[in-house]
Symmetry: C2
Subunit: 336 residues, 2 copies
């Protein structure tokens, strides 16, 4: 079997580490593996398939001979190394938002627009985490009748802010339990026992960058350039897995039973919808696995052509690391 030489740019972060876990779990045929990070991580090692790999400093020479670079770093780092990666002829599958809206760069959720990977010119972008989860939850409906618009409210886990997010949540929880003062560094306000409608930075129109991704990236993923989305993104004191409340308006009315059936058959989705028996997606249940759980599926009470639903999925896995690995597998024709 052909082995692929892989570099992970940002290997020490939450997404980078998860990418390594996914490569192991999916038995991806890894040849050479280069774990790239900033200088301050040099000296550390990470275990992969029973072997210690050293962290190397990412430089413009780091990418030669690689087949793929999985990007798990900031926009700035992605932009800094873009040209060197392209010059190395490795395919850059990037989780930052730096190239997502570039018309030359496919933005891919493999279950939805997997064929787009073959249009790449060296870079394929991994969409925003909440966007991946939401689009996957509603895609079965889109195939029945095109989605025209959505009203979305998110319940996003602290790990979406990186590895420091849950650490801050836990330390605030401990402080509150002990009656000690709470320290705030990662989030804008105390996150324990609180919810914060602020993810990303705010634009002129009053929406946050995170909120606009749902519309802008959604349009590109669904190939629906006039999709309209009003989104409110909210951080909640959850460790892992984002949950999303969605009102979906489709061109034609979709029957609730048909919606449930379609979602139950959709690759990447798990229909989890029996509220009478307390069966609906909740983040503690959907963490550490790759499916988007979808439940609370019902007819909108406002719109004849509306379906109201609730979904939850692991934003570090399917919302980031798993999706990137699946993009790579799609490109080389591996089943997952």
């Amino acid at each position: 079997m052909k082995l692929y030489h892989i570099g992970i740019l940002g290997a020490t972060g939450a997404v980078g580490r998860e990418m390594l876990k996914i490569l192991e779990e999916y038995h991806f045929p890894v040849g050479e593996l280069r774990l790239l990070a900033s200088k301050r991580s040099v000296g550390k090692t990470i275990l992969f398939q029973g072997k210690e790999y050293p962290i190397e400093e990412a430089t413009h020479q780091s990418f030669k001979g690689l087949d793929f670079v999985l990007g798990a770093a900031s926009n700035a780092v992605a932009k800094e190394f873009k040209e060197s990666i392209l010059a190395s002829h490795a395919v850059f599958i990037d989780n930052s938002s730096a190239f997502r809206m570039d018309p030359e760069v496919p933005l891919v959720v493999p279950e939805i627009n997997g064929e787009d990977v073959f249009q790449h010119k060296g870079i394929i972008a991994n969409p925003n985490c909440s966007t991946i989860l939401t689009m996957l939850a509603v895609y079965a409906l889109h195939k029945i009748s095109p989605i025209e618009s959505m009203i979305v409210s998110t319940y996003q886990a602290t790990s979406g802010a990186g590895a420091q997010g849950p650490i801050e949540l836990k330390s605030q929880m401990e402080a509150l339990c002990k009656g000690e003062p709470v320290e705030v560094e990662v989030f804008q306000h105390q996150i324990a026992e609180n919810v914060i409608p602020h993810i990303g930075s705010f634009l002129e129109n009053g929406y946050s960058t995170e909120e606009m991704k749902m519309q802008n990236e959604g349009r590109k993923i669904l190939h629906q350039p006039d999709l309209k989305v009003s989104c409110t993104c909210v951080r909640v004191p959850v460790v892992r897995s984002h949950s999303i409340s969605v009102e979906v308006l489709t061109k034609n009315k979709i029957d609730v039973a048909a919606a449930k059936l379609a979602i139950s058959k959709e690759k990447g989705c798990k229909l989890y919808d029996d509220p009478q028996n307390k069966i609906y997606p909740i983040p503690i249940l959907t963490s550490d696995q790759d499916l988007v759980y979808v439940g609370r599926i019902r007819q909108s009470l406002v719109f004849e052509n509306g379906i109201t639903l609730w979904c939850s999925g692991d934003q570090i896995r399917k919302g980031a690391a798993t999706n990137a690995v699946q993009i790579m597998m799609k490109l080389i024709g591996l089943e997952y």
Copy 2:
């Protein structure tokens, strides 16, 4: 000054205790005060205006000579004592949902439909907590152009489930901090580090009883019998104050600046909307006070005639106890 004889039915619960606090804070002219509860609370006392009041067992004889009974008990208890309260000629201001949809019973948020109190036939109902907060947040818009529909997602605090809710949250937080197993009694699932889209019980149409209140009670409060609301109610690991994400569709388009101005002038509301400076409603900030904070006000990206906003308020105070006391004050012509 005339003094009023007041009974509190369910005086030992979260809402009953808060009603006492509000009566003190608002310097309500209390004459006789009867603290009524179930037999198992007899023997306890509660401090009110520096004096210890004994808890009495609620019986059909408890209401004679009272001017007002503030109901802070279950639907079953409210129904059990309804006739005795009516016979006593006390006005029953009830926080349960037992009589809210009875066409003979006014359902009142004083700032919105305060005049409805004068239509009472012995009972006035206090609306659902999330409904009070949401209706107050959007009422300024309704006065500019009638609200036709809303899409609502809630972020509801654990204290909405009664005094045991936050106790369960705290004990689960402690267990998680210590790495000990979590015990689940009050909520359907672990609530610490989780969110649960399940408040109330589920109906045939897939909505919960709590979710339907937003539409049904909203219609009655706004005098808008064809108001349509798709609502998703979610419990979050917050101690106090519900937060709500709302997309409001009005008959005609309302300009964002006009919306902000109107909300800033609305009695009972506080415009709190400067996201660039981290100024938006959050539950830890809106607890233990009586205003509904409204922020993140922006033009809907889906509907020309839509405004998207976020609000938060103390559901035990304005969402229950304060609103009940204000209904009583409205009825007797006291300013608050």
